[in-house]
Amino acid sequence: MNILIVGLNHKTAPIEVREKIAFAGPKLEEAINILKKSNTVKENIILSTCNRVEIYAGVSDMDSGIESIKDFLSEFHKVSRDLLDKSLYLHKGTEAIRHMYRVASSLDSMVVGEPQILGQLKDAYDTALKNKTTGVLLNKLMRKSVSVAKRIRTETRIAASAVSISFAAVELAKKIFGDLPSKSFMLLGAGEMAELAARNLINSGVKEVFITNRTIARAEELASEFHGKVVPFENFTNELLHTDIVICSTGAPHYILLKEQVHKTMKERKQKPMFIIDISVPRNIDPQINDLDNVYLYDVDSLQGIVDTNVQERAKEAEKAEQIVDEEIGSFLKWHASLAATPTVVALRNKAEEIRKAEFEKTVKKLGPMEEEKIRAIEYLTVSIVNKLIHPPTAALKSENNDKEAMLDVVRKLFQLDTEKGKDEET
C-alpha cells in the first residue's frame, strides 16, 4: 500500500475553484464514507479549509487510486475533469510524506507559521477516526505529522512573531501594557486596517472603547459594532486623558494631534503610558510625539517595518524547519519499509532460530556427554517445533490480503521484532 495525496490550495486554485471543491460540514463525513467503499482507496482522510482541500489516501495501486479519487471529486462536486486536472496537484510516496509534514507544520500555508492549520488537520483526522476510514498507514502518518509539527514549533521560531500590521500592533500593545483588559482605546476615524486592528485589540481583551469620527452617523455605526462610546470629534483630545491606546486613521490632510497637546495630556495623566498608532496617510499625528517619555507612536511604515523583519525571520526559520522535515521523512520511511512482507518474515525466522539455538545448546550442555544420535534427535525436535509454530504466521504474511499492513504491524509488535532498533518515536 502506498501514500497518495490529491489536493489543491491557494497557490494552485483561485477561490472560485476552491469553494466548489470544498467539503463543508456534514458533506465531509459523507465524502469520506463514499471513498471508503472504493476498491483501491483503502484509507482516506479529507482536509477542507478555506485555503486548501486535500485528500490523504492509502492506495493499493497508485494510478487507479488517482483515477478513482479524481472521478469521485468530479462526481461529488459536479465539476469537470478538465477543471480538476488544471487545479489539482498529486504527491506520491516520499513526496506525500513531505507534503503532509509541511502542511501540518504550516510551511505550506499562505502565512507561513500560522497556527490554525494543525488544529484543522487534527479535526479532519478525528472525523476520519470516527468514521473508521483510516488504517495503520494513515494513522501512523497523521500522528507522526502532528509530532513533527510540534517539534518544529518548539525548535524553530517559525510562529514567534506577528506577520500582519494589525497583529503587530496588538503585540506591541501587549509589550507596553502587559494586561490589556484594564486598558481603554480610541478609534479615531475609520478605515479597513484601523478597524481590523481595533477588532484584534478587542479580541485581546480591551474593554473600554471610544469612537470618534467627523461623521457622527459613521461613529455611531462603529460604536454599535464595537460596543463603544461615541465621543464628539471636536473634543476628542479631552478624552485622551482616559485613553491608553489610540488608533488613528482619518482622511485629514494635516496633523490633528500635536506634540504640545499630548505633552499636556501626559502631565494630566501623570505620565501613564500611551500607545498611538497612526495608520493614516498622510500622517495625522505629529511624529515628534514619539520623543515624549512614555508615549509610543507607530505609523504605518514602522509597523510594516516590524512585519517585514518578522516575515524575513520566518523565512529563515522555515529553512530550519525544512531540514527537520527531511530528517523525519527518513524515520517514517524506515517504518514503512519494515511493513513489507519479506523483511518481516526474515526477521521473524531469525528471531525464532536464535531462541531455538540458544535453548538447544543450553539443554545439551546441561545433559552432559551423550551419544551423537541422541543430540541429533533433540535438535530435530527443536527445529520441528519452531517450524510448526512459525509456519502459520509466515504463510499468512506472504499471502495477498487486505489488512496485510495492519497484520505486519501487529506481528512486529507481538514478536518484538523492532526492539533492538529502539522504541517507536511517535508521541
Binding site: T154, R157, A160, S161, L172, K174, K175, I176, F177, G178, D179, K267, R269, K270, Q271, K272, P273, N290, D293, N294, Y296, Y298, S302, G305, I306, T309
Partner: protein, 275 residues
C-alpha cells in the same frame, strides 16, 4: 592544608553563581523563543551551598555572620537571592535571572576578596538590636538591587519599543508596565525597610555609645541614600516620574547603596561598626 567546611561551601556557591551568571548572559543572546531555566536552577544550587556556609558560620561565631566585610557582602548577595526567588516564582518574568545574577555574583565575588577569618564581636555590637538592624538593612538593600536589575530590563525594553526595531529580546523581556510596576513595588518595599533599619540603628547607637547620631560617614551616606529613594517615591507619586525616569533613578539609587556599602568602608574608613 585542610579546607574549612564553611570555606568550601562558600567557594561552591561562588562557582555556581558564576556559571549561573554566564548562562544568564548567554540566554540574553540566544535566538530561542522560550527562555531556558538553566540559570535559575544553577543559582538555586549555589544558594543551597551559600545557605550552608552561612549556617556554619553562624554556629561557629554564635551570631548572624555579618561582622566583617566578607560576611556582610556574602549576606548581602544571599538576601538579594531570597527576593529574587520570591519574585521569580511569583511573577515568572522572562530573563530576570540574566539581570539579577550578575549583581549577585559581583557582590559575592567582592566578598571573596576580603579576609575570611571569623571575628569576635566587640561588646558594643553584642546587642539585641544588632540582628534586627542588619537584617532590615540588608533586605532593604536587596530590594534596591532588584529594582536596579529590573530598571535595566525596563530601559532595554523601552529602547526596543521606542526605536521601532524589535530585537529577539523584545519577545523575551516582560512588558514595560510589568517592569515599571515591579520597580515601584520594590522601591516601596526597600524604602520602609531602610527607614526601619536607620531607626533601629539609631536606637542601637544610643544604647551602645550613648549618642543617637554621630555624623559618621556610613550614617551620612545612608542618609543620602535614604533621601534619594524618598525623592524617587515623591516624584513618582506627585508628578508621575515613572517608566524611563524611574528606571534610571533606581539604577542611580543603587549606585549610592553600593557606595555606602563598600565605598564608605574602604575609602572613607568610618568608625562605623564592624571594620
Amino acid at each position: 592544608m585542610q579546607i574549612e567546611p564553611n570555606v568550601l561551601f562558600f567557594e561552591l556557591a561562588l562557582t555556581f553563581y558564576f556559571i549561573a551568571t554566564i548562562s544568564g548572559i548567554v540566554e540574553i543572546f540566544r535566538g530561542k523563543k522560550n527562555t531556558s531555566k538553566v540559570s535559575l536552577y544553577l543559582s538555586i544550587i549555589g544558594f543551597v551551598f551559600h545557605t550552608v556556609n552561612i549556617i556554619l558560620r553562624y554556629i561557629e561565631s554564635g551570631h548572624i555572620p555579618v561582622a566583617s566585610m566578607h560576611e556582610a557582602s556574602s549576606f548581602f548577595s544571599w538576601s538579594i537571592l531570597i527576593l529574587f526567588f520570591i519574585h521569580e516564582f511569583k511573577y515568572k518574568l522572562g530573563l530576570l535571572s540574566s539581570f539579577i545574577m550578575p549583581i549577585v555574583f559581583l557582590i559575592m565575588f567582592s566578598s571573596s576578596i576580603f579576609p575570611r577569618e571569623i571575628k569576635v564581636l566587640s561588646p558594643a555590637l553584642q546587642s539585641y538590636w544588632f540582628g534586627i538592624h542588619v537584617i532590615l538593612a540588608f533586605l532593604g538593600d536587596a530590594a534596591f538591587a532588584m529594582a536596579c536589575g529590573i530598571g535595566v530590563m525596563y530601559l532595554i525594553q523601552e529602547r526596543n519599543v521606542k526605536s521601532k526595531h524589535l530585537s529577539i529580546l523584545f519577545q523575551k523581556l516582560p512588558s514595560l508596565q510589568t517592569l515599571d510596576e515591579l520597580n515601584y513595588h520594590l522601591i516601596t518595599l526597600g524604602f520602609p525597610l531602610l527607614t526601619l533599619a536607620m531607626i533601629t540603628g539609631v536606637i542601637w547607637a544610643n544604647s551602645a555609645w550613648g549618642t543617637y547620631w554621630r555624623w559618621d560617614p556610613k550614617e551620612v551616606w545612608s542618609l543620602i541614600t535614604w533621601i534619594i529613594y524618598a525623592i524617587v517615591l515623591h516624584l513618582r507619586l506627585t508628578v508621575g516620574w515613572r517608566g524611563k525616569k524611574a528606571a534610571i533613578l533606581s539604577i542611580i539609587g543603587f549606585v549610592f547603596v553600593i557606595f555606602t556599602f563598600f565605598g564608605v568602608t574602604l575609602i572613607l574608613k568610618g568608625k562605623h561598626v564592624f571594620m
